[in-house]
Amino acid sequence: MTPLTRRQLLSAGFSAAAVGLLAGCATPGTTSVNSAPAIAAAASGEKITLTYWSWLKDLQNVADIWNAKNPNVQVEAVWIPGGNEGGYQKLYSALASGGGPDLAQVEMRTIPEFMLVNGLVDLSRYGADEHAHLYDETLWKQVSYVDGVYGIPQDSGPMAMFYQPDVLGTESPATWDDWAVVAAEMRAKDVYLDTFSLADASSFAAYATQAGASWFRAEKDGWVINMTDDATLQVARFFDKAIDDDLVQTGYGNYSPAWFAAASSGQIASCVTASWGDALIEGVAGGEGKWMAAPMPTWGNGGYGSSYQGGSTAAVLANSKHPKEALDFAVWMTTSKEGIDAMIENSGIGWSPARDFIGTQRQQPSEFFSGQNYNEEVFVPATQQQNSEWSWWPVTQQSFNILSDGFRKKASGGTLVDAVAAAEKQIISVFTNKGLSIRKETA
């Protein structure tokens, strides 16, 4: 054996140092702010500044309306990239290093993920429950977990169907079975009725929700998972067949560059999407006056009239020094008329979560959508026909990725039904690897 070189000695030294450091290096997000004493409101006369990280555009204009009225609680809006495009990554690292803003935009489905890293303040400790009656019930349920409230609903996405009457005709399909018939007719004209994304499982989840699925339930003794219920399997079988019969476009997803090109040339006839899809559809070149909205097709036997996709909250992050004031601002922003109107005008938010006000602008008919007053006609009823049993869970993003990894196998002969069943097993093991208790629904 050759004697140790200096370099080898050096690396041995570093390894020893590494072992020594092991003890001292704690993984971030392992202590909870909600077991610490509540933080008192700022003394009157004390001037504080709250920061709000969000990917809504021109949010500062909204905050400025509040700032003008509340000289002592100034809100500063900071733009971050949208959700998993980099915004959450930024928030997670800020939390991990013990910093971060007072408020952050967090999607409904991501709230439990932030709870898992102890990133959110339980707002029920600061009086959030007093405001519950101002919000849509389904949405309030989606921010409430184990006696706590972890975010203030800020916008949501009730679903409907946008379609081009010139391509599809004026009758939109009322049920998914009708939808399949129409889709086949469209294929004869070399038109796709809609897309189905194999890369993003969130549409599939929304359809399953509509059919009456409720994949997760939080019980006292742990999570209960049920992804292979009749509703989900019905949806999976339906789209298995639709893809096999080439009824849907799977090559690209909604609102991708290829989609805009196809929608503009009339090769995509319609789009089952959330209310916030209107702003995106308005970006279809030459689309003015060519689109209308109709209710989402239903699953016929049971299920709900509509579903939801997307939707976000203003959540108070764990390192905030002023959770009470942050809550007050969030409630003002999402329930006051001026707040909602400013959010729609400046930031183009999705559907307002407030119970009695959809926004002045949205009470008017839209020129782009063929003069239809689609918000009041289609989306207001949609919000009242949603599955309120649905609950998000702590590894939503990972679960959706697992699901879409399975969906991608559809291209090489797999089925959505198999993918759902396999995903359920894999998600259970993700939970157990984190130490969380989970069991399969036995019914």
Partner: protein
């Protein structure tokens, strides 16, 4: 080494100074002189340790730690423990992560040789006696390297998307229906972007090496009546070997670290999943799944594979030259 003009010059110049300080002339001055290099190095060393060595150690530490939460969200307690190789086992049991490494090996086996051959051919052509405007073409070939990877990918993605790209119209003229973003083809679409970006850079390294070949060798060859092809085979190629080895090792490491291209192309290509490349996999695990510990294990594994591949390649090329 003496043939590489880069960096070695400064090292040689420093040597005499070091030798001089080593002599025990006047004790006090020597101590000061011995301290001087460390003082001058201190700013660099501090940053190097803080931003390079320390993160590596923390990452290795993190890869051996595991966090267990109990209850619904960990509200009933969170514990960190030393996990031995549990995280590595989880990373290796993840079929998608292993697939991403396999995918990059396949990518490397095809893309690296193509790029190196292309770079060598371009360099030889630019350095040949009959080249016109070599300065202009050198700059032109190098230009793509100046375009950041993200921007390059966005530009290329517009050429890959059906309905937007003129390439499809051209292909339709000859009756082809290409699919640049399909499950089977998107990897090679990425390879194309990488070749476009880095061929010029590698070419420049090879050109630098070609320029250092003494003129006498060419003159002697010409006197002996050697053809251009003969000069390439017997003089230029053997003498640029170090540059070829260097560029290949860089490319192997670069291949395993592929990230931006896949991440950006993901938006238009449904076939790219969140674990398409090893680095993308580690990124997703850490920042989308919040599983820093398994992500650290993945990162360490990527480094080990990159190290092993570079080492094997260097061993193989050294043995041939011996």
């Amino acid at each position: 080494m003496t043939t590489t003009p880069v960096a070695t010059g400064t090292a040689e110049r420093q040597q005499p100074t070091e030798l001089r300080t080593g002599k025990p002339a006047r004790a006090r001055r020597t101590r000061g002189a011995a301290r001087a290099p460390w003082m001058l190095l201190a700013p660099f060393l501090a940053l190097f340790v803080l931003t390079f060595i320390l993160p590596i150690i923390v990452a290795i530490g993190s890869s051996f730690t595991s966090v267990r939460r109990s209850g619904l969200f960990g509200e009933e307690g969170v514990t960190s423990e030393f996990a031995w190789f549990d995280n590595y086992a989880l990373a290796l049991a993840d079929g998608n992560f292993i697939a991403s490494i396999g995918r990059m090996l396949l990518f490397g086996v095809v893309q690296v040789p193509i790029m190196i051959v292309l770079a060598t051919v371009l360099a030889l052509m630019l350095e040949s006696a009959s080249a016109r405007w070599p300065g202009f073409f050198r700059a032109a070939y190098f230009l793509p390297y100046g375009v950041p990877g993200v921007i390059a990918t966005i530009l290329w993605s517009f050429l890959y998307v059906p309905g937007l790209s003129p390439l499809f119209d051209v292909a339709a003229l000859v009756g082809l229906e290409p699919d640049f973003l399909g499950a089977g083809s998107v990897l090679w679409s990425i390879a194309n972007i990488v070749v476009w970006s880095y061929t010029g850079y590698n070419m420049l390294i090879i050109v630098a090496q070609l320029k250092s070949i003494p003129v006498e060798l060419y003159e002697a060859a010409r006197v002996d009546g050697a053809s251009t092809w003969r000069v390439v085979r017997s003089i230029q190629l053997p003498l640029i070997r170090p540059a070829l080895v260097l560029t290949t090792v860089f490319s192997i490491i670069g291949t395993l670290q592929l990230f931006a291209e896949a991440q950006v192309l993901m938006k238009v290509a449904p076939a790219i999943d969140s674990q398409y490349t090893p680095n993308l996999s580690a990124y997703t695990t850490a920042f989308a799944y919040n599983d820093y510990n398994v992500a650290a294990a993945q990162a360490v594994l990527i480094a080990v594979v990159a190290f092993a591949l570079s080492f094997i390649f260097l061993k193989l090329t050294n043995r041939k030259s011996a």
